[in-house]
Point group: C2
Amino acid sequence: MLVGWSARIEQGDHVVVRVAEGAHDLAVAVAEQLGERGATIATAYAADEVSRAYLRGHDGDFETPEHELALYEHADAVLSLGGGRNTFATADVDGDTRQASARAVDPVREARLATDWVSTVHPTRSLAQQAGMSYEAYQDFVYDAVLRDWGALAGEMQQLKETLDAGSELRLVTERTDLTMSIEGRTAVNSAASVAYDSHNLPSGEVFTAPYATEGTVHFDVPMTISGSRVRDVILRFEDGRVVDHAADVGEETLTDILDTDEGARRLGELGIGMNRGIDRATDNILFDEKMGDTVHLAVGRAYDACLPEGESGNDSAVHVDLITDVSDDSRLEIDGDVIQRNGRFRWEEGFDADGSA
Amino acid sequence: MLVGWSARIEQGDHVVVRVAEGAHDLAVAVAEQLGERGATIATAYAADEVSRAYLRGHDGDFETPEHELALYEHADAVLSLGGGRNTFATADVDGDTRQASARAVDPVREARLATDWVSTVHPTRSLAQQAGMSYEAYQDFVYDAVLRDWGALAGEMQQLKETLDAGSELRLVTERTDLTMSIEGRTAVNSAASVAYDSHNLPSGEVFTAPYATEGTVHFDVPMTISGSRVRDVILRFEDGRVVDHAADVGEETLTDILDTDEGARRLGELGIGMNRGIDRATDNILFDEKMGDTVHLAVGRAYDACLPEGESGNDSAVHVDLITDVSDDSRLEIDGDVIQRNGRFRWEEGFDADGSA
């Protein structure tokens, strides 16, 4: 799925495989597929504990790793196999060091993003723990999320994309949410887990766009960890596209810090609609959570260029923080007054209840 | 020891760290040192199981990985951290595939060897098993071998190098060995585990040269595994520099195959004298065994250029197979008739017995 559907690897492609500490078995499977397709392979060891040791040893005056830059500049595709052994492995690296290093390696990141890159994860005990699940159940969860009929889902998501592209105003209503935003002139992305769709995550399964002129109140009921802090039951109130009030039952301070980062951090950068019904629960991992079927997520901060008119720049910010709300119950999504989803059912699905009378 | 003494890493050096499956902890320690010195770091995952999967998946028509080549061409140093989880991990990859791949990646190998490269191993359970040792005892063994006073040993080895460089004929005598060879015009290498000495292994601790015109019989009593086969108690008889008779108590067929590879495989390419007394036993790993104190090794096959007069090419062969003999007892090494080592003691060491009367 990763090598074929997602990355579209072909004979002669120069592929970098980035292997996290716990992703060995997936690296073995990927290597066999790359061999079968006649691609070349170079492997990088992407171990958080190695990064931590390097960063903590360093005085902070970083240089760009020219050799690593050359590797990615000569690569056609990069497959990042996540899956570490401790989600807090770099928790004691200070922020300044982290940022100084990020600036020095930014050309490497840019070169990587210029390839046909795909990020995925291999199920590890650490990720199972983060999800509050047994290792065995977590493995099933990951494979259910990844092994979809992506072609069929892409077709379904295309309908939603076209509806969003044609629409002007979007309204989201849940038990404690009533929010409107403009999507006029914006282009939705059909994120079907393949570079052929400009989609670079496996799993994926979301349609997202870049809204603006947001008004009203939204409640996010899916709990998550942001920058190492638990956050749950966030409420944001918007006026003129800007967050003017916020609260959270847990992690309100973290939320305040995010919103205070810069002016763009108080405006929406993304509205995404989760379409992957293989993801049936939140696991505190944004790669999965934001694609969960029957959810909608909004991100404060930076918008994606792909959603904007050519040459136009969207909401600008140093952050992009996703927050998620469950729409499986007591909820509806309207575009220009037409209900396109109610209680998690889209209007083209069986069981869709247009007027909420069921 | 690896980053400082061996590789001489300095501020701004672009370093590739190649990490075997079991070498994670060493990679963490090395990364911290690289950070402290202000070097940059790129990590490669050198996992035998990944190589096996790639090679077995491939149809055999390999291309050069241009991206990996670019990585090494832009690197100043390469630290290879060996230590896998199964010394037979690639045993079921066929020889033709292996050779075809080796030809395609040869430019990458050449680029790597053009850097300040150093190979070492991290103690793993797999290597302990190969050595017939407990994991705990094997860890002690590895650190005893590596954590030497290399500066002092380099000084001692320099004496032996100068003696060999000045000599014409070398004679090795043990209980079942009486062998003479010419070393006239050849240059010995003082292999002190540092790129500053043109020495690329950690541990090291040997002085080696390229002999010729070998005559007589030699018995190798240190058992080893060669190409996956156990070999022990090898006897070779030389006439006019060429093996004319051979036998082995175990693995004679393997020995015959090696000697029949090509004409050069019947001539000596190397005589090495083990000087690392931190290595006190054979562990069936040539990186350690050939440097063991109180041993001498001879290799049939290819000679090293560093031992030869500028522009002259030594014994040429597709193979270079080391065989080791214990010289701690009942043994002597003579140069031009002078005993330079008897029963493992060099003539500059306490307890040296020049005339064997002790």
